[in-house]
């Protein structure tokens, strides 16, 4: 199918358990410090005056027009045929210009100071789930092409509207 594989994060499902971070670290053998995927949290005041916490995993979005690519002064960031944005650590000088250009704060810097980031588990079978997706206990992360994810989401909306139930109780969408 057309398009890059991307990760879809379902904020309604994420419970902030950080399992994806751990799975990613183990899968990709990442050192302490950099987080290719990171769960961030935000407190939200609800209408009834109580507080709730929102969570969301953040990784690299593998943008089609990735701003990190023109920002890199050494041409170290490349987009493969499948549009996955990858960095060549031999060309990287660790100037962090990509991080300044990236709206998602995706580029990470390890102990050696060179850029590293989510590869969408490029070493796995392209159709297999990514590590974070595989280990998310509540199904808050889904990988797929934008088209697939869009139709899944549309179906889900129809389902919610028809059944009048919340997305959380629908199980696998």
């Amino acid at each position: 199918m057309e398009g890059t594989r991307v990760l879809y994060f379902d904020m309604e499902r994420c419970v902030g358990c950080h399992a994806c971070e751990t799975a990613c670290k183990i899968e990709n053998n990442i050192s302490i410090g950099p987080k290719w995927i990171e769960v961030v949290q935000h407190d939200v005041l609800k209408d009834d005056g109580t507080w709730t916490m929102k969570f969301m995993p953040m990784n690299c979005r593998h943008c089609a027009k990735a701003p990190c690519i023109p920002a890199c002064p050494t041409g170290a960031i490349e987009q493969g045929a499948d549009r996955v944005v990858l960095v060549n650590s031999r060309l990287c000088i660790g100037c962090a210009e990509c991080l300044q250009a990236c709206p998602f704060g995706a580029p990470q810097f390890g102990p050696g100071g060179l850029m590293e980031k989510c590869t969408l588990c490029a070493h796995r079978d392209p159709e297999a789930p990514t590590a974070c997706e595989q280990f998310c206990p509540v199904g808050a992360i889904r990988s797929g092409r934008p088209q697939e994810l869009s139709s899944q989401k549309r179906k889900q909306c129809l389902f919610i509207a028809a059944a009048g139930v919340t997305a959380r109780s629908t199980g696998e969408a």
Partner: protein, 418 residues
């Protein structure tokens, strides 16, 4: 325990290329046995710092690029003062002059280049006639001119210019004997060379252009007597010969690697024989503008190639950037920078800019919607952007080009703004 000899990564040459390669190998592979052989005695030093030692800008200890503890601390074996004299590619062995034979698993040839010494000087073994190439040369020159004296520099290329400048900065009288009609003819056009010649003459350098040397002799008392064509004669204390260089590949003559122009390498710095790499002055690397395989005698190229070769020797697959010419000609704050091929003449668009005071000058050369070369004289704050632009990062869009041509004296806004 002695390391497995077949695993040994052997580096011939402790110059810019050799030391960068060792650094690169160590960055990937902290343990593999690495041996560096240098043809010269003592610690490795930076050739290009020699003129600055002569001019007195830095002390002699400032030219060294590696200390003993840098080697021992990183488990690198350093063998100085024992040049390679032969290579047996079948048995994977390098023979050193002392008779020592070193086996290798991977070999890097980074022995640089050697200066030409004209036939005219054969047999004339007079102290005070030398190249400016090794520390020995520099020490000799420095000692001879310590208490004044006149110097002739034969040649008008980059090394000749550096020598003349260093000696002039040291307050000595210098004659620059130049065969062509301008100095630095490979990197500067007439306009820029004129400005540089003028600046040189203000520092006390006499540029003798369109001039050949007809005879050289030694006078009583040790002065060198130089007869130029047209009958002019000079008597100087030191004659520095700087007539170009050739690749230092003499010891390879029995191997299939030997070439007159240097050692051909692919983009992974490998030579024709697997396991043998080459980097630095003697490596023929593709030029990023012309695509031709040429040897660039540049420190920057030697560092880049050395690093690439080192990474690949350590088992990586690193494609080295193509080579880019860049020369900096500085005369105490006023100077010129030449990047790429500013003198190329086929299908090129050339733009020249000069300021009213006649001090600053720029020549920008485009070909097929690319910038392929630039000469920048005076006002040198944005020079750092030129190498990348010639390499094509960032891309030279039409809008950028227009902006550069409209504001040619600082190209940074054009590159950052759009």
């Amino acid at each position: 325990m002695r390391p497995e000899k077949k695993e040994r990564m052997l580096i011939l040459g402790a110059g810019a290329a050799g030391l960068s390669a060792a650094d690169a190998i160590r960055s990937v592979n902290p343990d593999s046995p690495v041996t560096i052989v240098s043809g010269e005695k003592g610690l490795p030093y930076a050739r290009m710092a020699l003129p600055y030692y002569i001019s007195g800008k830095i002390p002699v200890k400032g030219i060294f690029t590696g200390m003993r503890r840098d080697f021992s601390g990183r488990k690198i074996e350093y063998i100085p003062g024992d040049p390679a004299v032969g290579l047996d590619t079948h048995r994977q062995k390098v023979l050193l002059r002392s008779g020592l034979a070193l086996e290798y698993g991977k070999l890097l040839v980074a022995t640089g280049s050697v200066p030409e010494y004209p036939d005219m000087l054969a047999g004339l073994d007079a102290p005070g006639i030398c190249n400016l190439w090794t520390l020995k040369d520099a020490l000799q020159i420095k000692r001879r001119i310590e208490h004044g004296g006149a110097i002739a520099v034969w040649g008008a290329g980059f090394v000749a210019f550096m020598a003349a400048k260093a000696l002039a900065m040291h307050g000595r009288k210098v004659y620059l004997i130049c065969r062509a009609n301008r100095i630095l003819r490979r990197v500067l056009d007439e306009g820029a060379a004129g400005l540089m010649e003028h600046a040189l003459s203000e520092k006390g350098v006499v540029c003798l252009k369109d001039t050949n040397v007809e005879h050289i002799g030694v006078l009583k008392g040790g002065k060198k007597h130089i007869v130029l064509d047209g009958g002019r004669e000079l008597a100087v204390d030191v004659l520095i010969v700087a007539l170009g260089t050739r690749p230092n590949t003499g010891f390879l003559h029995e191997t299939p690697l030997a070439g007159k122009k240097g050692l051909e390498v692919d983009e992974y710095l490998g030579t024709r024989i697997p396991g043998i790499y080459a980097a630095g002055d003697l490596a023929l690397v593709r030029d990023c503008v012309t695509g031709e395989r040429i040897a660039h005698a540049l420190w920057s190229a030697a560092v880049r190639e050395g690093r690439g070769a080192g990474l690949n020797m350590a088992g990586d697959r690193h494609q080295c950037d193509l080579s880019l010419l860049m020369n900096v000609i500085d005369l105490g704050g006023y100077g010129a920078v030449s990047v790429g091929h500013p003198l190329l003449a086929n299908n090129t668009e050339v733009y020249q800019f000069a300021d009213k005071a006649g001090k600053a000058y720029r020549r920008l050369v485009f070909q097929d919607r690319r910038l392929i070369g630039a000469i920048i004289v005076g006002r040198c704050t944005d020079t750092g952007f030129f190498p990348a632009l010639i390499r094509g990062v960032p891309e030279l869009t039409q809008a950028r080009k227009q902006k550069i041509l409209r504001f040619p004296w600082n190209i940074a806004p054009a590159l950052l703004g759009l």
